[in-house]
């Protein structure tokens, strides 16, 4: 591994006092960011909070762009541009208690891992570089991306990549969890919703008029009968279901949220068609409106296992004595892949209760997560990750 990277990792781990200040700065940002609610399409307050953090580090071009992305630039001297991304939005709306609790070994609170820790790392990076005397040649673009999750479909990052006037050398997508993750490829994905709605004029005496939950249950059973081969790897994830209000009221509405994932783009397409046919069949059988909505789509792609960026990522993880977990991604990485920009997704620490209001992250492993992040920046900046 390049000596510049190993020197940094050594200093980062040996100088306890400097790291203690880095950790305090990171946790402080994490608290302020986490406690600012940012449901998808309403990320503005969190974007302002992040930009204020950039500004207090004297970064250039700190602003919230027209799509709501929070941007700041650590200026370099070369033409290279490294884009670091963490997503601003969360699945929690403003009514959820966003209070964070900090204990000696962990931080607990809604979305602390996904992706407030990634955003806090962005906010802390200028301080880390300054503390350890690192002056990258490349411009480091820090981006809290808006409209990433669910219906957002990576809109913020795609907007930036479509409109930024200079070439992006490489990208790093920062997720809170899990340390050791190294994603460099995207699998094919289709994200959709099935909405079941009984019309006002519905005839409740009609055969099969059991209501939304039972009919949706039938539909789910039919979806689960769709073959999903193990090669190419394919799965249908049923992520969320909403229906009903009471014990004894027949529900008239139901919503199923799902994702089809496959290494084969054609299989994603085929399964989507099958599910859509099932919804049409349900409409004709039940007399209810059953609607299939296609919300987001990813095509498989990415860099090769042997790409220098991936190679150096694995080397740094090995040096940090962390087992590398090579998992495909369907998140921000997909936007880089669509633009043929080499990029990886990394995790900064370990956590529990992901996606719940009491999501938690461990504090101690963050040191290695930050080492990996800065190590990758040094590698890209030094030109060691160019694919010749």
């Amino acid at each position: 591994m390049n000596s510049k990277i190993s020197d940094f990792i050594k200093r980062f781990h040996e100088d306890r006092e400097s790291y203690s200040n880095v950790l305090e700065t990171l946790l402080s940002s994490l608290i302020m960011i986490s406690e600012t609610a940012a449901p998808t399409f309403r990320e503005h307050n969190r974007a302002r909070c992040l930009v204020n953090r950039y500004m207090s580090s004297n970064l250039l071009n700190c602003y919230v762009d027209e799509l709501g992305n929070a941007l700041g630039i650590i200026p370099g001297k070369s033409d290279r541009n490294i884009l670091l991304v963490a997503h601003l939005d969360t699945f929690f709306d403003e009514k959820v208690d966003h209070t964070v609790t900090i204990l000696p070994d962990l931080v607990k609170g809604a979305a602390v891992a996904d992706d407030s820790l990634g955003l806090a790392a962005l906010a802390t990076l200028p301080y880390i570089l300054e503390t350890y005397g690192i002056e990258p040649e490349a411009n480091i673009i820090l981006m809290g991306s808006a409209r990433s999750l669910g219906r957002g479909d990576l809109e913020g990052l795609r907007f930036f990549l479509d409109n930024f006037k200079k070439p992006i050398t490489a990208g790093v997508c920062i997720e809170g969890v899990k340390l050791g993750r190294l994603s460099y490829s995207s699998i094919g994905m289709l994200r959709g919703e099935i909405n079941y709605r009984v019309p006002e004029s519905y005839d409740w005496t009609k055969f099969n008029s059991e209501g939304a939950i039972i009919n949706m249950n039938d539909l789910i059973n039919r979806i689960l009968e769709i073959p999903t081969p193990s090669k190419p790897k394919t799965s249908i994830v049923l992520g969320s279901i909403e229906a009903g209000t009471s014990y004894n009221t027949i529900p008239t509405r139901a919503k199923l949220k799902f994702e089809i994932r496959s290494e084969s783009d054609q299989l994603v397409e085929d399964i989507a068609h099958k599910i859509e046919s099932l919804t049409q069949e349900m409409t004709s059988l039940s007399g209810a409106h059953v609607e299939f909505k296609h919300l987001a789509r990813r095509s498989p792609g990415g860099t090769d296992f042997s790409h220098p960026l991936n190679l150096i990522g694995r080397e740094i993880l090995t040096d940090l004595k962390i087992n590398t977990r090579l998992t495909p991604s369907t998140s921000e990485l997909a936007a880089f892949i669509d633009k043929a920009i080499p990029a990886v997704t990394i995790g900064l620490t370990d956590g529990e209760n992901m996606g719940e209001e009491d999501e938690s992250i461990q504090i101690q492993p963050i040191k290695k997560g930050l080492s990996l992040l800065v190590g990758l920046i040094l590698a890209i900046d030094g030109g060691y990750t160019f694919d010749n």
Partner: protein, 336 residues
């Protein structure tokens, strides 16, 4: 100065001081030192966050605070261990000035902070704030840094979650609006301009703190306002809107105890100032009720608002801060 004029000139918003680098520069220019005290009793859920925020933002990034300490009344939930693990200086109140008889209460911790901490200004922040932010400190320090005549800055919180336009009510919590403000309006109308007289967040110059006595219980904020007003008048006060504060809500019964303590302190002050010379000795037992198996029964609680004397009267303090014996005579409030 009329009350409305005072409100106009001595009421701030925390955003008036959010340029922290400028605030730090001004503090250094004036050669001021600033200490922060967080009094605690079983605050494990929130203390870690307060320590991290204040240490990182107001000591490392912008050195507005010269020191800060967590002073605890004997927590049983690892409050001190958590605070210490994030680098705070931690103390048990009983270990500060150990030769004095032991008292337990928030006011005791605040009083002992005057001895333990070195700053020219001491900021007190409650430990139960769920939405802690650096503004809770810099908003209070700002007026003291910029205006020498201001000695005591009190927090208030005025950020409605939803409001259309025009006139809307503003003020404090239930005890403030039902007890404290009516009392102030009756006897010290100027003090009614302090929007949240009972808020637990304030910043005070040492020269003032060392000369006022401290009830160790519920009456400490009320007695401060009365004593500083009595000695220095309204021009010594300022108040800062710190936006929203999210904290635990208290039950009505607890507010009854708080009101009882505040009222004791208030009446004692009236007597001390010679405004109520014929007042009989007041009772210290609060009667409240509960129902057990459809029978009403009285619940009595003895609430004595013991007061610590002005710190300047304590020999150890005078020695530590090089105050000569004569200086204590200017402290007007003697031990009750």
């Amino acid at each position: 100065m009329t009350t409305n004029e005072w409100i106009k000139t001595n009421t701030y918003h925390r955003s008036d001081f959010e340029d922290l680098q400028t605030l730090v520069n001004e503090k250094e220019k004036r050669g001021l030192t600033i200490s922060l005290c967080i009094p605690t009793l079983n605050e494990a859920k929130t203390i870690g966050k307060e320590v991290v925020i204040f240490k990182s933002e107001l000591m490392n990034r912008f050195p507005l605070l010269d020191e800060f300490a967590v002073i605890d009344s004997g927590s049983e939930d690892n409050t001190l261990e958590i605070a210490s693990s994030f680098g705070a200086d931690t103390y048990l109140a009983s270990e500060i000035l150990p030769n004095l008889d032991e008292k337990r209460g928030k006011g005791e911790n605040l009083w002992k902070a005057i001895y333990q901490l070195k700053g020219d200004i001491i900021v007190y922040i409650d430990a139960d704030i769920k939405n802690i932010h650096p503004r809770f400190v810099y908003g209070l320090i700002g007026p003291l840094i910029y205006r020498d005549e201001v000695k005591y800055v009190k927090a208030f919180y005025d950020r409605p979650l939803a409001f259309s336009e025009g006139v809307r009510p503003s003020g404090g919590g239930r005890v403030t609006e039902i007890l404290t403000r009516p009392l102030f309006s009756l006897f010290f109308p100027e003090l009614a301009a302090i929007i949240q007289p009972l808020s637990g967040e304030y910043a005070v110059r040492r020269e003032v703190l060392e000369r006022i006595s401290f009830p160790i219980g519920y009456g400490v904020e009320t007695s401060h306002l009365l004593d500083v007003y009595h000695e220095l008048g309204m021009s010594a006060f300022a108040q800062t809107d710190l936006d929203q504060r999210v904290h635990r809500n208290q039950e009505t019964r607890s507010l009854g105890k708080m009101s009882f303590g505040i009222l004791q302190t208030f009446l004692n002050r009236m007597k001390t100032y010679g405004l109520m010379n014929d007042m009989p000795d007041i009772n210290t037992v609060l009667h409240q009720f509960q129902v057990r198996e459809n029978q009403f029964e009285m619940v009595d609680q003895n609430i004595i608002e013991y007061e610590r004397p002005p710190m300047i009267t304590i020999p150890e303090y005078r020695e530590k801060f090089s105050r000569d014996e004569k200086s204590q005579n200017t402290g007007k409030n003697k031990e009750k």
